[in-house]
Amino acid sequence: MRNPQLNANGALTHLLSIEGLPREVITHILDTASSFLKVSHRDVKKVPLLRGKSVFNVFFENSTRTRTTFEIAAKRLSADVINLDVTRSSTAKGETLLDTVDNLVAMHADMFVVRHAASGAPHLIADHLRRLGREDVHVVNAGDGRHAHPTQGLLDMYTIRHYKQEFTNLVVAIVGDILHSRVARSDIHALTTLGAAEVRAVGPQTLLPTAIEKMGVRVCHDLRSAIRDCDVVIMLRLQNERMNGALLPSAREYFRCYGLTPAVLALARPDAIVMHPGPMNRGVEIDSDVADGPQAVILPQVTFGIAVRMAVMGILAGN
């Protein structure tokens, strides 16, 4: 079967998942992003690449930050951006996902940026467009269920490459609620594709998916031993609704076992960086002294995210 993200010429036409992306494609996106990063420092923070194109942000699930960074990225490429709050409009009235897509295609959409609570929704849309013969319309997955969040994975790789240059000798720990995290899955696929030396999946048994070691990671339940000698620590957000359910006793106990404090971080390499996809729960998964400390690169991640999304949209729209 053909990779659903690539067109007949093998060029990237949709970004649905990092899984299955060739290493060269990932590297090409990261290289292109570094050129776009410079655009944001100029007097005129725009290039004319997507002039006249319409990018539809279709968010079936709320996310202010991701939607905003996609919007900024599209605007810096000179595209027209239309934000649809579908949760409150057509879907609430009973319209199906593909009917919504057909309507937007009829409005001459050139690209969809899709966030959906159901894993596979962006793939369904891409498949639908192919059956319609509309391979000129592109889909970017902005997060689907527990499956993937490829632009977050790519911006994380951009951040790591920015501070560490090479992936081959790196030890990376991903800490927290991996079970519900599409960011963790995208990061793991990207890190293994780029050849990181070791990826550690760290968390309580209840928040780790079964058989995750088959993704090529080492499973750890003890934070202190997992952080030892790490080059990169990626903290995941613990969602509020998980804190008092069956999976965890309490937020306080979680912080005691899995919260990243200066004392725990001191076990990592002295030049280790700390990342977080945001929004952070201070005092739950990360101590404020770490979040605001010299090793945190959480705000640079946001800045890099715009350049990475510009690169993804710029590459897709040209293929």
């Binding site: 292109t32 050129s35 100029r42 007097d43 005129v44 004319p48 710029g314 040209g318």
Partner: protein, 174 residues
């Protein structure tokens, strides 16, 4: 025009010697605040040669016009985009845009558009190592040591040889 006559009989001059000639053309018009801007990748090499030959101490600018090309819709984004770097204020500056080959004029158009997104220069002049004719836009070079009429089926390419010297080659398209 006969392709065989132009492409196969054309003698390719020494590219390093052309750089010296180009520098000589620019020198009389050089002003103290003039800055060079090379277009990736051939133009960047030529700009670096000119920088040395003209004894300029100001850092040169480098631009990649991939984000400004007019064939993006047909050909997509260039696979190897280099970051543009303009380490000076463009506003009110005298700039010399440097490229290796002037052909359709579309790259020059894209480069001028990009420069204006950094500010409003006082003057932009164009210096090229070779003008191979067949313009598609109203653009001409202010400084050019070598003019040659080449058939569109052939591509004039500047590259670095193993010893780091600039050299010309002619690629024939079927």
């Amino acid at each position: 025009m006969n392709a065989e006559k132009t492409s196969h009989t054309v003698a390719l001059p020494d590219a390093e010697a052309l750089c010296v000639q180009l520098a000589a053309l620019i020198r009389p018009q050089l002003q103290p605040e003039t800055v060079l801007v090379g277009i990736h990748s051939g133009g960047a090499w030529v700009a670096q040669r000119l920088q040395t030959l003209l004894g300029l101490d100001r850092e040169i600018g480098l631009i990649d016009v991939s984000f400004y090309r007019d064939d993006y819709g047909a050909r997509g984004l260039h696979p190897r985009v280099q970051p543009s770097s303009i380490p000076f204020d463009v506003e009110g500056r005298r700039l010399i845009l440097v490229d290796d080959v002037l052909y359709t004029g579309r790259t020059t158009r894209a480069a001028i558009n990009e420069l204006f997104d950094y500010g409003r220069p006082a003057v932009i002049q164009l210096a090229v190592l070779a003008d191979r004719g067949h313009r598609q836009l109203p653009i001409c070079a202010d400084f050019c040591p070598w003019r040659v009429d080449l058939d569109p089926s052939s591509e004039l390419v500047l590259s670095l040889d193993d010893g780091g010297r600039l050299q010309w080659s002619l690629d024939e398209h079927a």
